[in-house]
Symmetry: C2
Subunit: 406 residues, 2 copies
């Protein structure tokens, strides 16, 4: 069993890096705060006797030797970056529970057959740099390292520059290191486990995701003198498009979701009819054909609105991640571990993207979910109980032992 | 007659202060660029023999003596600040034509009975600091000087600090200086004169204006895991409100307009359902009861949307400017001047707010409009012909001579 109290203490301790007055964390990837929590994690891993290395995209790997060093390490972890309005658990739980697994094995004096490795993946959140989960995607071969290094944030800073700024551009080639299996513990970020009174979600896969960049080009004009019918108002076009996206997602209920998370009037002024609006769209569904259908509907809506309002709407798909099934053997190992510990559990599909979804293409992978309050995540009020976090760490520990000693 | 070629040259010369690649001007009030054009204007006025002073809100007054110095000066002018996507004529024409009137009288060796004064009012545009036309409002007694000095821009900088930064916090008390009459030349900023082939608009008044600050408070949540019906999406609420504002303005057609010129998601992220959106509303109509009715409708719409979407919408009216009738005698003087010059003309109501609309409460006031291309303003492509600008300066000169020598 893991030490739930020690795990909880590390969650509270690291929440100070980027902690907000409302009790959340604002720790965007590769920010100064992210640098500080990375340093803390490296020091804690080294104090636990692990060997820590960093790859060219900043991902941290901390290895505990096994009896058979010819086997690739059984691996686990998640991410320490957060959303601007992030909570204390999203990603953090998976990394710190991984550290706790190592500490508990040390305390118990237990050696494993395969080596073990806890990983902190760079930029899981995708808030500062798109797409989300970019380091694990590069590990899995979906992008080259150079492609990722040249991505820019809203201020024009590249991933390469941001890595250098905090000293986390490591020497190791991305994807060079073999991984035997990957298990990610995470809060559910949705309402299902809580509603059904289950402690553990045995995650069978992740839904598909599409990200778009949009730009509406109308015409700036005077708010006092431009008659309503003559306007080419980019914000009104965005408004119609946002409501269309909501209708399109509802038409694929209950599984589909669509979100406009960013929208910015360029050169805004109170008394100027908005001429240009940049925005993003996030669309998800567990069914690949539903993604296709929603993209078609969104493009049709954009075309109709643009024609009627005499403006241009450009919609560029910058990312598509297909729905991912996890490895049945690893899913079964999670299930068996949860059963052996007597936890109420259910099979579940992840609504969020996770590094595990990228790893799954290259490595036998699965995930463990624990409940979070009201299903709320990406919010400073995100909350999970010490008991559920400890239960998740126990299931992680038992799953890892099964896999490493098999 | 004014020297139209010289006027045109000064328009092009000063357009360099804050000039944009697209041929417009981005010269927000009290910016460094605004400081530079003010210095240019002061030097040009002094070179024309005028005495230049600055009041406590930065407004510049340049006086040409008359034979009867006991009479308050017949005054004219406008503003040299612009919108972020401003053109070369809005405000600028009125100030530079005022300078041209002074230069032309000097060239002709003409003295007037009353003294003359050209004025450059601070912050007419209202883009950096709200409300618009704030220095002329303080002159007319609608606000105290201290109220205006403490207004803040989006970066938290006060008017007082911004004035100090460019050295334009003058010694003269705001409103202390008597004005005999005020005449403002301006581009129409609307399509009517051009459509009817008229050169001069004899402006009879300005419509009413209301400005609101809005804040929508929903709930940030995960874009991938929050089912559509559980969301409290502040951007979708704004979208419905923006479309409701459009419908409400159309219901008061053809005179009413409503505009959401600024809208900002707070802590935006691609994969976060927007939790908070701040926005502005600009509502106008020449009829005061229509303003009342539109405010009621906007508040009803906000309440209905907030209830249905389970979030809060706060709508604060930060400014209301009643419709303003200009002084019949000054309107008649403009009309007579235009007639004497043989210009095709029509009576017109201003859709934009102007410093003249504030002055009208304290001083006999009227305005002169000239056409602008396609009625477009607050846009970098704003355009007026040299001939129309010269015609406007001629009418200004003749109106001023009538008033000063009466
Ligand atoms: N787990 C998580 O919130 N990941 C962020 C990527 C996404 O699903 O939007
Ligand atoms: N003339 C002009 O554009 N003034 C700005 C104030 C307003 O009408 O919005």
């Amino acid at each position: 069993r893991a030490d739930g109290a020690r795990l909880w203490a590390t969650i509270l301790e690291t929440a100070a890096f980027g902690g907000t007055p409302a009790g959340g964390i604002n720790r965007l990837t590769l920010s100064a705060e992210d640098g500080r929590v990375r340093d803390w994690f490296r020091d804690a891993c080294e104090a636990a006797g692990l060997t820590v290395t960093v790859d060219a995209l900043g991902t941290q790997y901390a290895v505990r030797p096994g009896r058979d060093m010819s086997r690739p390490p059984i691996s686990f972890g998640s991410h320490l970056d957060t959303q601007p309005t992030g909570g204390k658990f999203d990603g953090v739980l998976g990394v710190l529970a991984g550290l706790e697994v190592m500490r508990s094995l040390n305390d118990a004096g237990l050696e494993t057959e395969a080596p073990l490795m806890v990983v902190n993946w760079t930029n899981e959140e995708g808030s500062r740099f798109a797409p989300a989960m970019m380091a694990s995607a590069a590990y899995a071969g979906d992008f080259t390292t150079d492609e990722i290094l040249s991505k820019r944030d809203a201020a024009g800073i590249t991933v390469a520059e941001a890595l250098d700024a905090i000293g986390y551009r490591g020497a190791e080639d991305v994807g060079a290191r073999a991984i035997g299996a990957f298990v990610e513990l995470h809060i559910e970020q949705g309402p299902i486990l809580e509603a059904e009174g289950k402690t553990i979600g045995v995650v069978e896969g992740g839904q598909g995701i599409m990200w778009f960049d949009g730009l509406i080009t109308g015409f700036e004009s005077h708010a006092g003198t431009t008659p309503m019918p003559r306007r080419r108002d980019a914000l009104l076009a965005l408004s119609e498009f946002a409501l269309a996206a909501e209708r399109i997602a509802l038409a694929h209920a209950p599984s589909a979701v669509a979100t406009i998370g960013e929208a910015q009037i360029l050169a805004p002024s109170r008394n100027v009819v908005p001429g240009r609006v940049a925005f993003t769209v996030d669309v998800r569904d567990p069914r690949s054909p539903a993604l296709d259908a929603m993209e078609t509907s969104l493009r049709e809506a954009a075309t109709e609105i643009a024609e009627r309002r005499r403006l241009e709407i450009a919609l560029t798909r910058i990312w598509r991640k297909e729905p991912v099934p996890f490895d049945p053997a690893i899913v079964a190992a999670v299930d068996a571990a949860a059963e052996s510990l007597g936890h109420a559990r259910r099979r579940i599909i992840s609504g969020a993207g996770h590094d595990a979804c990228n790893l799954a293409a290259k490595v036998p992978t699965a995930m463990i979910f624990v409940p979070c309050k009201d299903g709320v995540s990406h919010n400073e009020s995100e909350s999970a109980t010490p008991g559920d976090c400890a239960a998740g760490a126990d299931v992680l520990l038992q799953t890892v032992l099964r896999l490493a000693n098999a």
